[in-house]
Symmetry: C2
Subunit: 191 residues, 2 copies
C-alpha cells in the first residue's frame, strides 16, 4: 500500500560536501548535499546552491570552486558551515578547518577532507530557488595515506574513509554501514 504525499523533494542517502569559494586569503565554505556527478568524460559535476546565498554569488564572480568530501570526524564543523553565512563570519577561522592551495584554481581545498575536487564553472542555470552550477573537474586530490594505486582511484579501500552521510527530511547525519555486495557483479545472479 502506498500513500501520496504530494510533490516532495525526497531523496536519500546523500553525500555531504564542503564547497569552497574565494581565494587563499579570503575563502568561504558552504555545506552541500545537492550534488551529483554529471559526466565521466570529461569529469563533470553539478551542485545546487541557493540563489540568494554568498556561495552562489562567489561562484558567479570567480567561476570556480572546490568540492571537498566531508567525514564523520568533522560533522560539527560541516553542520556549522551549513547553518551560518560567509557574509557574516570567517568559517575557516571559526571551525579550524585548514586551507590548502589548489593547483588549477584560486579557491583552496580543505586539508581535513580526504578527497578534494577542483572545479571550473562551465555553466549555470536557475532552477526554482537554486542555481545549478556545472563544474568541470580539473584536478583531484586524495590523502596520500589512503591511496592504493594512484593510477586507479577505484582501488581505494572504504575502510580508510569515513564519509558523512546526510539524510534529508529526517535531518540526520549517519556513518556508512557494511558492504553487502559488489556492484556490476551481484546482478549477474539473475541473468
Amino acid at each position: 500500500m502506498k500513500t501520496k504525499l504530494g510533490p516532495q523533494r525526497i531523496l536519500f542517502p546523500l553525500p555531504t560536501v564542503l564547497v569552497v569559494t574565494g581565494t587563499m586569503e579570503n575563502a568561504n565554505i558552504a555545506t552541500i548535499a545537492w550534488i551529483s556527478i554529471l559526466s565521466g568524460k570529461p569529469p563533470t559535476l553539478g551542485i545546487s546552491v541557493g540563489t540568494k546565498g554568498f556561495t552562489g554569488e562567489q561562484i558567479l564572480k570567480n567561476k570556480e570552486f572546490s568540492v571537498n568530501i566531508a567525514t564523520a570526524e568533522i560533522m560539527k564543523e560541516t553542520d556549522f558551515c551549513g547553518i551560518t553565512s560567509g557574509r557574516d563570519i570567517d568559517k575557516f577561522e571559526k571551525t579550524g578547518l585548514v586551507k590548502m592551495p589548489a593547483s588549477e584554481i584560486q579557491a583552496p581545498i580543505i586539508q581535513q577532507c580526504p578527497i578534494n575536487l577542483e572545479c571550473k564553472l562551465i555553466e549555470s542555470k536557475i532552477v526554482g530557488t537554486t542555481n545549478h552550477f556545472v563544474g568541470e573537474i580539473l584536478e583531484t586530490h586524495i590523502d596520500t595515506d589512503k591511496i592504493k594505486d594512484a593510477n586507479n582511484w577505484g582501488s581505494i579501500d572504504m575502510k580508510d574513509f569515513n564519509p558523512l552521510v546526510y539524510i534529508s527530511g529526517a535531518k540526520e547525519y549517519r556513518v556508512l554501514g557494511n558492504k553487502i555486495g559488489d556492484a556490476y557483479k551481484i546482478g549477474n545472479d539473475l541473468k
Copy 2:
C-alpha cells in the same frame, strides 16, 4: 599530505535509484546513482543518463519518468537493472519487480521501493557523454506503513527504511550505518 590523481569523478556515498520509463504495458528500469535534488520550490531533481542508452531515448520520447529509491532487499535486482539493457529484455519480468500505476504520468512506479517520485521532464542538456534530465516532481508516494505524519515527510523514521548505498570507484553496495548527529543543530556547538 595530498596526492594528485588528475581529473576524476570521485563522489561518495551515492543514493541508488531505479528510473522507470515507458508505460504500464511496456516499461523499462535503469539503475542510476548520478542524481540530485535541484530545487525545493518547485520540487525538482536531475538525473544523468548515458546519451546512447535506452532510458535516455525513452525519456526524450515520453518526457516523463519515475524515480524509485532502491533498498538493500532488492540489491541484486537493482544491480541487474544496471548491467543490462531494456533494448534486449523486459527487466520487470526478469527481476520480479512489480509495476504500479503512477497518478500523474504514464510511466509506472515500483512497488518494492518505499519512496517513488513521479517526474515530468522540463529540460535536458548534454554534458559530456550523458544527458542531464531535469524533472519536476509532480507526485510522491511512500509505503503507507512507513508514514508517521502524512503532512510532514520529515517525520519518517530511518529505521523503517533500508536504502541501498552505492560507492562509486570501489564499486560497492553498502547499507546505512548509525545516526551520529542532528543536522542543522549539532553545528550550533561551534557558535
